[in-house]
């Protein structure tokens, strides 16, 4: 597409089928302790597949 470039992202709808294992880090546990979000978490399963 000439005027639209799509960045590689994880398909959230598809992750309904593949996600939910719960092995990921608890959101607030690691660094912030005051202003939680999930955006900077990583998926353990995806990381495992990359290894």
């Amino acid at each position: 597409m000439k005027r639209i470039k799509t960045i590689d992202t994880r398909d959230l709808k598809y992750s309904k089928k593949t996600g939910g294992c719960g092995e990921c880090q608890t959101s607030c546990q690691s660094a912030c302790k005051t202003s939680c979000g999930v955006a900077n978490q990583q998926c353990e399963k995806c990381l495992g597949n990359n290894k």
Binding site: T6, C36, V38
Partner: protein
């Protein structure tokens, strides 16, 4: 739902429910914003008028853009519908395992930081240290309640956890002694002000701690203004050399230099860059959480300054990356391809359900920020969670719990935000801490822009 914004020369379109991110030119940006509101003919007419001085914008060209948008819509990458609402409540209701504990091993501190939410480490109670017996029981409690989860997190927190260091080491040793048999993998974190760091702490933590969080507010004058010892002397000169030695010997293991910014240093980017000048690369800087009456509380007048600071930081980080000297900022870490699944994104932070704080005497609270508030006592590690009504309240805390979030584009990035911040701002864990939302959204815009810029730079 879409979110469109312009930042650092990029036009960015975020499709909220698929997680897709697009970077587009001005024409496509405008057409996308009109796509659902106007007919094809109306869009063409409006665009021809707006771009009458641009030879490249013809009727055919606009039609092509509309076709491309249609193609992305069909592929589930634009204008996708929300189909997660029921999932949010069901998933959290059925999910009853605990996978993380924040162990308050010391309700006491050797610093007297003015802004401390834990009231100089005591959490509005008496000074106390966790015994080894309580620590071991906390580990057993976590294992017993963790179901099939393999990775368990334990954060040594306080007050100042190094004031009870021998017990920390023995708790780690106990957990390691049972993890194979119990088929678990403990990930320990130490959060410290650094005053008591010595060779023993460095060697042990660098062997056993998955992550260390070291508190430094940035420039000496900023740090020393609020982070003082009990005699009123700033702690910067004591801790900085210790942190530098700690990190020098840490190799590639995780750490964060973590600061707090307040109304006193709204130019906090200078503090982050100061941390980088000291040789640290993994950085975190949090807005202060305090009463609006405190003299250092952030104000609404500060917001435009803070937005600008986040932008300055993002641009500076891109420059540093290009020049081969990258730094990491915790809130700009966003993995668009291997980030959280939809269940994680909708189910909230996990406080009170999969994450709890344990006091020195073994009492359970939904998270470290509720410790000391008797209304929020969940039970204890000996008898388990007893206040099920309270726990159910936290089970309902998720990305769909608040009507105010219904139309917010960022809800799948914050997952409903911090329950403690919501409580302190509104009196309810399902309230909304609007100030925090504004900062969060700005950080997400910057983080996504950086990903767009990185991809543009590699192509």
């Amino acid at each position: 739902m879409l979110h469109q914004y312009k930042l650092n020369g990029y036009n960015i379109v975020l499709d909220v429910f698929s997680g897709s991110v697009h970077t587009v030119d001005d024409l496509a940006y405008d057409v996308i914003s009109l796509y659902e509101k106007k007919s094809k003919d109306e869009i063409i007419s409006e665009m021809l008028d707006k771009y009458k001085d641009d030879d490249t914008v013809t009727q055919n060209e606009i039609s092509d853009v509309i076709s491309d948008i249609k193609e992305l819509e069909t592929a589930g990458k634009l204008f996708t519908e929300d189909e997660y609402k029921d999932l949010a409540f069901d998933f959290k209701k059925n999910n009853t395992v605990i996978k993380a504990l924040c162990l308050h091993v010391a309700h006491t501190c050797n610093l007297n930081c003015e802004y401390c939410f834990a009231s100089q480490g005591k959490y509005h109670g008496d000074r106390a240290l966790m015994s080894l017996e309580v620590g071991k029981r906390a580990i057993d409690f976590l294992v017993e309640n963790s179901g099939n989860r393999k990775n368990l997190e334990v954060d040594f927190f306080g007050g100042e956890p190094l004031m009870n260091w021998d017990v920390v080491k023995q708790i780690v040793s106990y957990a390691r002694s049972i993890e194979k048999e119990k088929k678990k993998n403990f990930r320990f974190t130490l959060t410290t002000n650094g005053v008591l760091i010595d060779d023993d702490v460095i060697d042990f933590a660098n062997k056993e701690m998955h992550n260390v969080v070291l508190s430094l507010d940035g420039r000496k004058e900023v740090h020393d203004h609020l982070r003082k010892n009990i005699n009123g002397k700033g702690s910067y000169d004591t801790i900085v050399p210790k942190f530098q030695e700690f990190i020098k010997r840490r190799g590639d293991r995780g750490y964060y230099i973590r600061g707090t910014f307040t109304h006193n240093n709204t130019d906090f980017t200078n503090d982050i860059l100061h941390m980088a000048d000291l040789g640290f690369t993994e950085l975190s800087m949090e807005p202060v959480v305090c009463s609006p009456d405190d003299p250092y509380a952030l104000t609404y007048d500060d917001l435009p300054i803070l937005y600008e600071q986040y932008e300055i930081l993002a641009k500076e980080m891109l420059e540093r990356e290009k020049s081969g000297k990258p730094i990491t900022f915790y809130h700009y870490m966003i993995d668009l391809t291997a980030g959280p699944c939809i269940y994680k994104r909708i189910s909230g932070c996990g406080s009170g359900t999969e994450y709890m704080a344990v006091t020195p005497w073994g009492e359970l609270f939904p998270c470290h920020q509720f410790v000391g508030d008797p209304k929020y006592s969940l039970g204890n590690i000996f008898d388990g969670v007893q206040n099920r009504e309270l726990q159910n309240e936290f089970k309902l805390c998720n990305a769909y719990a608040r009507p105010e979030c219904k139309d917010c584009w960022a809800k799948l990035y914050c997952s409903g935000g911090c329950a403690a911040n919501a409580y302190h701002a509104t009196g309810s864990v399902t309230g909304v801490y609007k100030y925090g939302c504004e900062l969060f959204k700005k950080r997400m815009e910057c983080a996504i822009m950086m990903k767009v810029a990185e991809q543009a730079n590699t192509k």
